[in-house]
Symmetry: C2
Subunit: 688 residues, 2 copies
């Protein structure tokens, strides 16, 4: 075999001999690298021949510890001085994890990092006796870190410990790694384009393995326990007028036409329900061509489900069981069942945000019973947040900054209660800023005392005060933002508790934010509504009179009172899922699309069908005897990140995109030729 490979590579020696340097140079500008010249003249010749000498592994490292033959040998050899029994021979695969240490001319130690696919130890010490002159095989002492190897040897107890080690009979290097591979040990030190090196770290190995386990647990629950079927829906979908920006895919066969990559399988899953699929489920790829904020990816994964002949409660039941099982199976944690529920208004008034972090019980206090704010008609609720520092010298959380456009009136006031004066003074300042009107005729000091008494406000407490709308569309509210700020400054995100909550009774519609506002408050155009979640969400039955009245009188609905049958699953301040009961009555759907959301080309008179109606297929499907249905989608990447304790969803994705949407590993997106574009009937647009 050796001579064969000598022949193979004799002609290419000149290439081989400088290969090592070259790779260094390629990475040279980016980071440190070893400058030692490798003995490449002979390297390929000998090493490549070895690269295919691969015996099957008998064990993973962890499996060694579970093998009864090995443990009985180990205990017999240690209990008696006679080592008459034959040590079991094993074959292991893995990488040289740390540079081998040559202890003497004859003795070398190294650490093998096994292939990581099971629980238990991942590394084991290798011990090789043998010196340079020996021709019996490869020398461990010559091997670089990150060399993939096949090791044959016998297992012994590592002296003075309960750990095993392997006495090497032979070790075969299966490839020759460049020095770069061994030079950093922390995933974050490698360049993003060397993602495959990052992936070798235990953290990312664990993250990918756990992600796989989570998906399997979810599938087992939905498919085997709850009788769902997994159905794949098309990724070459159609451009639709809803939601975020889409990726377009030009069609070669259909000149001038485009597919769009789906933002979710929403429409297809409703069509499946119309098609008699009783319980649909899919772990689906979705796409969103948005500017990538903090922790978003242009392609992401959703656990998507829909149930026919079902409503909100059915869906929440099923999802709740899935989540509870997941935590038990993957984290060995029993979440409290049932998962508590808050209405949107409760969440907004107690926590100031629709995805409250409930790991801390701190709540916002509504002071409407004492006073209302009158400096802006829409923001009449006067509320405070009280923080009690754990000790006198604890750091005081700062004020969370307001959005740039609303610096003054949407920033909370902040007070420290130090003495009797300041116990009234804070309220005095609120009167001035928020133009408070009190419900009682009492003096300010008395009212302040009442507030303090009722809410247990003491000396040393910090008060943050602001206003909100009665049905808040500002989300988070200033105090909601402040509450999160306080929680993070006091370290809530290091807690390893899990506090899931369902948020229900969302407003069905959200008014559009006005752009040219000088009032210092965020103002909304209540005549111009968007769907809070999506246009297919069923209104609460109790909201139908308002919808009816609005349509009857050709006016817009009052967005503050129309509730939708939507539910979000929130976990530690992260929205991990959202769903709704859907509209399955086509006329109601037509009226909401056309009259309230004012989407063009939707005829409410089906006698005049509009060929441009973007939802025609869905409306027709509803008209064919579609049963009531409800569903939900879980953000799978976020769910995985929470479970593995990662800061970012990037850490649970094998090949994430950067902020600019690039994949630095393969170099996508990339240039294509004009000729390739021409095939798709396209030209480049000159940039001005």
């Amino acid at each position: 075999m050796r001579s064969l490979f000598s022949a193979v590579f004799s002609s290419v020696k000149i290439l081989a001999c400088r290969q090592s340097q070259v790779i260094c140079r390629r990475f040279g500008g980016v980071r440190r690298y070893s400058s030692e010249s490798s003995t490449s003249e002979t390297r390929l010749d000998s090493a490549v021949a070895e690269r295919f000498k691969l015996k099957r592994a008998t064990h993973s490292v962890a499996q060694l510890y579970k093998d009864p033959n090995i443990s009985s040998f180990i205990s017999s050899s240690s209990s008696s001085s006679s080592t008459s029994s034959t040590p079991p021979k094993v074959v292991l695969h893995g990488w040289i994890d740390a540079a081998p240490r040559k202890l003497s001319k004859k003795l070398t130690f190294a650490i093998l990092r096994g292939v990581q696919f099971d629980e238990g130890p991942q590394t084991i010490q290798l011990v090789q006796f043998g010196k340079e002159g020996d021709q019996t095989g490869a020398l461990l002492s010559k091997m670089k870190q990150e060399t993939p190897v096949c090791v044959e040897g016998t297992v012994a107890r590592h002296e003075g410990t309960n750990e095993y080690e392997v006495k090497v009979i032979s070790v075969t290097p299966l490839n020759h790694p460049h020095d770069l591979a061994s030079q950093v040990r922390d995933a974050k030190e490698w360049d993003a384009k060397d993602r495959y090196l990052q992936l070798r770290t235990p953290q990312l190995q664990h993250a990918l393995a756990t992600r796989s386990k989570i998906a399997m647990s979810i599938r087992d629950q939905f498919i085997r326990q709850d009788n769902f079927i997994e159905v794949e829906t098309p990724l070459l979908f159609k451009s639709t007028p809803e939601g975020a920006r889409e990726f377009l895919v030009p069609s070669r066969a259909n000149e001038g036409k485009f597919y769009a990559l789906p933002q979710s399988p929403q429409q297809y899953k409703q069509l499946l329900i119309a098609g008699g699929v009783h319980r649909y489920f899919q772990i689906a790829k979705c796409f969103r061509d948005e500017d990538l904020r903090s922790d978003r990816q242009p392609e992401f994964t959703q656990v998507d489900l829909e149930m026919g002949f079902a409503g909100a409660e059915d869906v929440m039941d099923v999802v709740e069981r899935c989540i509870i099982r997941l935590w038990r199976e993957v984290k060995d944690i029993d979440l409290t069942a049932p998962i508590p529920r808050l209405t949107y208004l409760e969440a907004m008034s107690k926590y100031g945000i629709d995805k409250p972090d409930l790991r801390d019980a701190m709540q916002i206090i509504d002071l409407s019973k004492f006073a209302i704010a009158t400096n802006h008609q829409d923001y009449s609720v006067f509320e405070i947040l009280v923080y009690r520092p754990p000790a006198a010298d604890s750091p005081i959380p700062t004020i969370a900054p307001a959005p740039e456009a609303y610096p003054t009136l949407r920033t909370p006031l902040m007070f420290t209660i130090t003495d009797t004066n300041s116990a009234t003074e804070w309220l005095q300042q609120c009167v001035q800023k928020f133009n408070l009107v009190f419900k009682s005729q009492s003096e300010l000091g008395v009212i302040a005392q009442e507030i303090a008494f009722e809410n247990d406000i003491r000396q040393g407490d910090i008060i943050y005060a602001c206003t909100r709308q009665t049905m808040p569309f500002e989300n988070p509210t200033p105090l909601g933002r402040q509450r999160l700020h306080v929680l993070y400054e006091t370290g809530i995100h290091h807690s390893d508790t899990y506090s899931p909550v369902w948020i229900v009774d969302f407003p069905l519609f959200t008014p559009v934010e006005k752009s040219d506002v000088v009032s210092g408050h965020i103002e909304f155009d209540y005549d111009n509504l968007t769907a809070t979640h999506h246009p297919f969400t069923m209104p609460a039955l109790s909201s139908l009179p308002e919808i009816t009245a609005a349509i009857e009188h050709d006016r817009q609905v009052d967005a503050r009172v129309v509730i939708g049958q939507h539910y979000d699953l929130v976990l530690n301040g992260v929205e991990v899922g959202g769903g709704s009961a859907r509209i399955h009555d086509s006329l109601l759907q037509r009226l909401i699309l056309a009259k309230l959301l004012r989407i063009p080309n939707i005829s409410t008179d089906p006698q005049i069908p509009d060929p441009l109606n973007p939802f025609a297929h869905l409306l027709t499907a509803l008209e064919m005897g579609c049963p009531p249905h409800a569903g939900l989608a879980l953000g799978f990447d976020r769910l995985c990140a929470i479970i593995v304790g990662a800061d970012s969803i990037r850490d649970v994705i094998a090949f994430p995109k950067t902020q600019s949407g690039a994949d630095p590993v393969v170099g996508s997106p990339s240039e294509v030729t004009d000729a390739a574009l021409a095939v798709y009937h396209l030209n480049r647009r000159s940039s001005k």
Copy 2:
């Protein structure tokens, strides 16, 4: 509730009253529809109110038969005349499956088609007592086919049978179906745009449920039995020079740059192996923008896997176990293990194709020991196929037509052996057509006798004769095509046997077919090679000397002798999977890409890296200590189609695309505005 909805829809009566007709008209040109006018004035008012009166189902139809309470009630009520025990009350969901039959003023029968998610009966008879005057609920007799309903009732035995029926207490229609929904009962009669109606048929319900079950079984095997992890790889990939045409996705954030949708996760999975993922697996979406031949889809699904520290045998082992388990679990069939193997050359010489249908034992007979053909130097093998009609009056299979460009010399000769004359005559004709040169000096008649004797050719047999290359790149060969033609004309495809086979030892390279050929034979340019499967396939170790010699002398390799470590899984003549051991040595990979496949911008001298090198990321990953690895991809759609016995993969895909790549249900692809294109820095190209 009723009055609420009266209010809701009072304003829109005018729309509602003509809705039914309208929908008819929309479909009017396409198919039959009922012209009876519905009583829509009141329909929405009453029906919509009911649409949300949904109790949870207590059983599916099949579950009724498994419920011990029901069966004990049924047997007690039939065994004694006293029906003292209370009949169990049940709630069922489903559709009215056939138009209700009103047997008298008081008695109506109907069939309920339950929600289809478990094994067992899917339909049950409903019996309702009650007449028009009754105000106690909805009347079954008024319901159209395909009305989704919630039924409350008691279970009884259907007189004279072992089947159950439900005596209706109340039946609530949950939507009002258009007549169209009920007018055809066979999936093929509905228009493709009404896919959701097709999906309600038992065939497609079964196909989707089975597909889900197959995926789950495969995942269970790979993940839980064989320690694979499922890793999602990016769908926004990069344009590459290999293989079929890609879909491009313009990038908004990166002007002038494009993603491409992947044809397979091949490169990413090799990067995962370099990243220390030991056993990777994924049920992955893949894309191919080709003209859609017979049974292809622009987006399709692949069971994709890759194993580190592994070779071909490891992969074939794992896949074989998966397939055998699948057939046992889903079809209750034990496939013979191990799956037999044929080399490419064996398959081509015995069956004339690299994906032989082994449900029939018929083989092609190589007559090289008697004669060689000399009419074209490349096509020297003389071979025959012998068909024996089962009876004297059996139909005689015709000659399979040759490709249009090669009508004469690539069409087999066909003879019927009727008497002693014709037993020599056929060979005489072959001599003339193929310019046969015999190996013995014997007379033609003697040689014909020898051939007949050795191959048991008898009177009544049909002989098809033709030639092939010694290492055939013509695939199928004329006799391979003829064999399939004979098998299909004699009904092999109606057989329900399963004959899997591994095809191994493929040529690593395939010469390009010459275009301007007048010889009547398909001619190949042996200097111009493409990768038979893909450029990452590892050559057989025994082929390395030829590769070395070629590179050394700067010549092309002889494609007829260089074998690749590739393996295909073929089942009943369908290629269901293919894989290979990969090249994990970067220099060998560079040389093959640059010198033999002559792909531009691949430097064999890594000291001069080419910035345009499309495989730079992969080559670098190999250089970082990538272990040996091998993998495979199964065509999931084809696998599902074979298992459910569907003619086309369209029948196992929820929303397949048409031949032109369109989805008629949602109407994709569709027009987008110039403004939307501008965002992606693109213009329409005028088609002139």
